[in-house]
Subunit: 314 residues, 2 copies
Amino acid sequence: MYAGIDIGGTNIKAIIANREGAILASSKDRTPKTAEEINETIIGLLRKMLEKKGFRISALKSIGIGAAGAIDGKKGIIITSPNIEAWKNYPLAPVIEKKTGVRVFLENDATAAVIGEWWTGHGKKFKNWVMLTLGTGIGGGAVIDNKVYTGQSGSSLEIGHLTIDYKGKQCPCGNRGCFERYASATALVETIKAKLKKRSSSLLMRMKTEALSARMVFEEANKGDMLAREALEEVGFFLGVGLAGLVNIFNPEAIIIGGGLSHAHRYLLPVAKKVVQERALPGLKDNVKYLIIKNEDKTPALGAAKVGIDSLGL
Amino acid sequence: MYAGIDIGGTNIKAIIANREGAILASSKDRTPKTAEEINETIIGLLRKMLEKKGFRISALKSIGIGAAGAIDGKKGIIITSPNIEAWKNYPLAPVIEKKTGVRVFLENDATAAVIGEWWTGHGKKFKNWVMLTLGTGIGGGAVIDNKVYTGQSGSSLEIGHLTIDYKGKQCPCGNRGCFERYASATALVETIKAKLKKRSSSLLMRMKTEALSARMVFEEANKGDMLAREALEEVGFFLGVGLAGLVNIFNPEAIIIGGGLSHAHRYLLPVAKKVVQERALPGLKDNVKYLIIKNEDKTPALGAAKVGIDSLGL
């Protein structure tokens, strides 16, 4: 049995898998604030899943953890994390290893999602593909020649920081016009807020502006809210702009979309695909398949488990 | 003995190499207009090089050809070419094969340049790197895990059609704001022309606008022409914008610059590097090495020869 943990800004998701990638148990909990509380939540989730099956934590062969941020995988340290302020050069893997007695391996969450999809999802069908996780930012990765490509530093591909407008919106990363400033869940919320300032016909007007989330926007779109649909279409346009660039550069067989915003694919993808058709090169754009991550809820944790399995094997 | 031919819009360059990549002979000639004249030039160059050594064309084991455009490598057909109008679905490889009795293999010229640099140039030192050829457009490619990556269709990576300004200059490809509209030799000429309209203090004023070339601009810059230097710096800025995106996406060990405009690297690179430092992510930008193609004049032809050698081996 191998554990996989996916630590997001909102939830911590955990699974227990076997060596073949079958999920034996899964559980999740809210992400607490402090590093110590996060550690306890992780261990609590593992204990709960295992006890139901009559096991202790020591029955685990490894624990793989996917977390957002700059990661030193070798040392198991989170250098910085955009979502969890408590983590600054935090040795998450050594700490959990000490508390559990099980080997712990750390990976960037977007890379973990790519590994999960490559292992058990749509990725199995393709040799060269690109994955985007549309969440607070845009993460992602590329599988090249059936191997997950993580670049020279082995961190992750920063697809979200592809420039689509060199004089565009300022990004906290220092660049201007980064893809994720236009096509992430955060961008969707910004877009709807800007629209609400101009018009008041939307159902979303009854919510407090601060409380608006991407999920609300596509729930209202489902109920027929036109302003919500317009905002989603605008984000879909920018998704297409970024994808056209990625199609021209990677010439992939498939693009797989994950992350929370992938739930809004019926609004985003038709627009994005049309933009790719208008903007990417013939020959490159013609045979691309667009797919939604197989199991948005569990794939990143499953990928984290795979990191543990493979690291043990070395 | 293996021949390699690099067909550009201006010159046809030919080399004879051995299996290890040593150049045994080289020659070049102007690129003529018609398909038939191009064929004769190719054969003339081969004959000239071989006769000097006392051989006939039949002594060649293979001829590899790199040509700009959309290529069907399997059939040896040039589908379309931006530089040579005479080529429309032109079966270049079969035609040369028939005329010479030697096996002929066709590859995109930018990919041939990457293969040449990977085989005998700076590329040998790195596992993951990106190459840009700055010419009429921007071509290029990526070497991933020590293999030349050509995408699913095996054509070439269209780095020049990365979007850096989604509402920017119209590109003939259909997209807006393509990288090559801002940082190619063509872009340099457009930039200087725009500057000359506004100001007349440049030495370049004495040339006819139509006759201006990228080479003239950096020759004048070498002589101290401030307007030429300004134009080069502007192109260097955009080179940096594109490179920052490529650094974030590919996380490469090295960026290798080729193509005619690479001769102006002392103007372009300092600006481009500074922009990458401002715009790309820490951890990704820190260890990138910037190199100029080892032998701009012969590497693409050498890469074409390698395509022939490897194709024979299959």
